[in-house]
């Protein structure tokens, strides 16, 4: 048998959950246990608060389901759980808190070791034509709509205090995650800020953002709301540059 055949067969055996305990060879059982154990441990590490929320048994059952469906392909175990949020979203359609907690876990993990960038201070907010200004954000910035109170639950779990019961929010909100200096951070947003940030991340100009705010808040408040957004994005360390579109 060629080395390629040996390796393909070995790996297929090791990864097959159904045969993990069926090997006559204790050595193959050891490799199978190592394989599944490392992947479960990687998911538990990335999704630490989701694990606390679901409990060991329920989390491990979902982890096994994910492992069976998603063989690891990256050189780094850190990338292994990228699809786990989608699995939880699909598995718990009536409990949005589960997938949203997992998204927060993953986004914060990615922010932890994402690319660094220098950010703009308020003194650098200078532009000739603000309508055409586009924003360049820190590479670690991510945002997601939130249907549940997952942000509050995550914070309680992280603080090791009793988390509230999950609820579906009366008005959909959102959260953004980024890294400021060396510290991953997150902040809740209203649906209006999420829409503006989403537009800005897609390359929308400040003028287009103001038009969006006009639809949300009316002409009388556009300048105030736009000023709030700009101050928040800069003071939170989200903006690395202004670009004239």
């Amino acid at each position: 048998m060629s080395l390629r055949e040996v390796q393909k067969r070995f790996l297929a055996d090791v990864a097959d959950t159904a045969t993990e305990s069926a090997f006559e060879s204790p050595g193959m059982r050891a490799y199978a246990r190592n394989y599944h154990g490392k992947l479960v441990e990687a998911l538990r590490d990335t999704y630490a608060r989701t694990l606390l929320w679901l409990g060991d048994d329920a989390f491990d059952a979902e982890a096994r389901r994910y492992i069976d469906a998603s063989p690891p392909v990256s050189w780094t175990l850190d990338a292994y759980g990228d699809g786990f949020v989608a699995l939880l979203d699909a598995r718990f359609p009536d409990d949005p808190d589960v997938g949203e907690l997992a998204w927060l876990d993953l986004a914060l993990r990615r922010a932890f070791s994402g690319r660094s960038a220098d950010t703009l201070g308020p003194a650098s907010l200078v532009a000739d034509d603000w309508d055409r200004v586009e924003f360049v954000f820190v590479p670690t910035l991510q945002a997601r709509r939130m249907r549940s109170n997952a942000v509050v639950i995550w914070k309680a779990l992280d603080d090791e205090t009793l988390p509230p019961a999950s609820t579906v929010l009366p008005v959909e909100g959102a959260v953004r995650v980024w890294r400021e200096g060396l510290s991953p951070r997150f902040s809740s947003m209203g649906a209006d800020e999420y829409a503006c940030l989403d537009l800005a991340l897609a390359g929308g100009s400040f003028g287009e953002i103001c038009e969006l705010l006009l639809r949300w808040h009316g002409a009388g408040r556009v300048a105030t709301e736009a000023g709030h957004l700009l101050r928040a994005w800069v003071s939170d360390g989200l903006v690395t540059a202004l670009r004239q579109g």
Binding site: P26, S113, S116, L182
Partner: protein
């Protein structure tokens, strides 16, 4: 292109793990070097690299990888090698090491160090991948003997003969894991002393000392326990045959307070010194 060679470095060090970062940075610990897992720092930015930079200001660092997949019939992942090269350029490590094993095939990565049959075909595969990795990294690699739980009875070479041929063909060096020798030899009914017969000891640059567990009638290389007596005894027998090498306590799970590991390292210093006195 000439490859940079790992220096003959005599010293005693620890594997650097997260619970001990603060201790290593707060004060100068009595170690000659630390070893870090390369992949943990092959990231884009943030605290991991910031911490490693500060560690490097205080200690020599060896980079030890687990994902080079050198024994696979797949070619080495060039993007991985470029990330590793960038990390090495940043850290200026003592050397870059990985394992005589494979982790995946056809793009499927098990994230485990899997065993090779010691055949000419496996030697060809490894030698080709090592040559490519050394070429991209610009340095000779240091490669570790694995722990194995299955054997390939039809394979014609002993592990020592395989490693010896590998050094000869590729110019690589060796990281001798004494625990892995004990684990593999015990699991396959071999005499650890015979296991080492024919090994080119002049190619050894580093030694790992670690613990293991027993399960299912096998020794499993778990790195979750103090170095056990049989491993100390094996180290004592071999320390006198090794030249200037870097000896390290490797602990990856159930990580004890730093003082306990430093005490184990002190024992390693004592064993090495006694071994050398006996040889003199």
């Amino acid at each position: 292109m000439s490859l940079s060679q790992p220096p003959a470095f005599r010293g005693f060090g620890l594997g650097l793990r997260i619970p001990h970062y603060a201790g290593f940075l707060a004060t100068q610990q009595p170690v000659d070097f630390v070893e870090v897992i390369s992949e943990n720092f092959m990231v884009d930015g943030g605290r991991p690299l910031h911490t490693l930079d500060r560690i490097r200001e205080r200690y020599p660092v060896a980079l030890h990888g687990v994902s080079m997949n050198l024994g696979s019939v797949d070619p080495v992942d060039v993007a991985y090698l470029h990330r590793l090269r960038a990390l090495a350029a940043r850290i200026d490590p003592l050397w870059v090491s990985d394992h005589v094993s494979w982790t995946g095939v056809d793009g499927f990565n098990s994230h485990d160090l899997l065993p090779l049959p010691y055949t000419e075909e496996a030697l060809d595969v490894l030698a080709t991948n090592i040559a490519m990795a050394q070429d991209v990294l610009g340095r000779a690699l240091v490669l570790e003997n694995p722990s194995t739980y299955v054997a390939f009875p039809d394979a014609p070479m002993t592990e020592a003969a395989f490693l010896s041929a590998l050094c000869e063909r590729t110019g690589c060096f060796l990281l001798l894991d004494i625990n892995n020798i004990h684990v593999s030899a015990t699991n396959h009914g071999l005499d650890p002393d015979e296991w080492l017969t024919g090994l080119p000891l002049d190619r050894v640059r580093q030694v790992h000392l670690a613990g293991h567990m027993q399960r299912d009638g096998l020794l499993i290389d778990t790195h979750d326990a103090p170095v056990p007596d049989p491993v100390w005894a094996l180290y004592a027998r071999f320390a006198q045959q090794l030249g200037d090498v870097a000896t390290m306590i490797e602990r990856d799970d159930r990580i004890p307070p730093l003082d306990e590991l430093l005490a184990e390292l002190e024992r390693a210093r004592g064993v090495a010194a006694a071994s050398e006195r006996r040889a003199a």
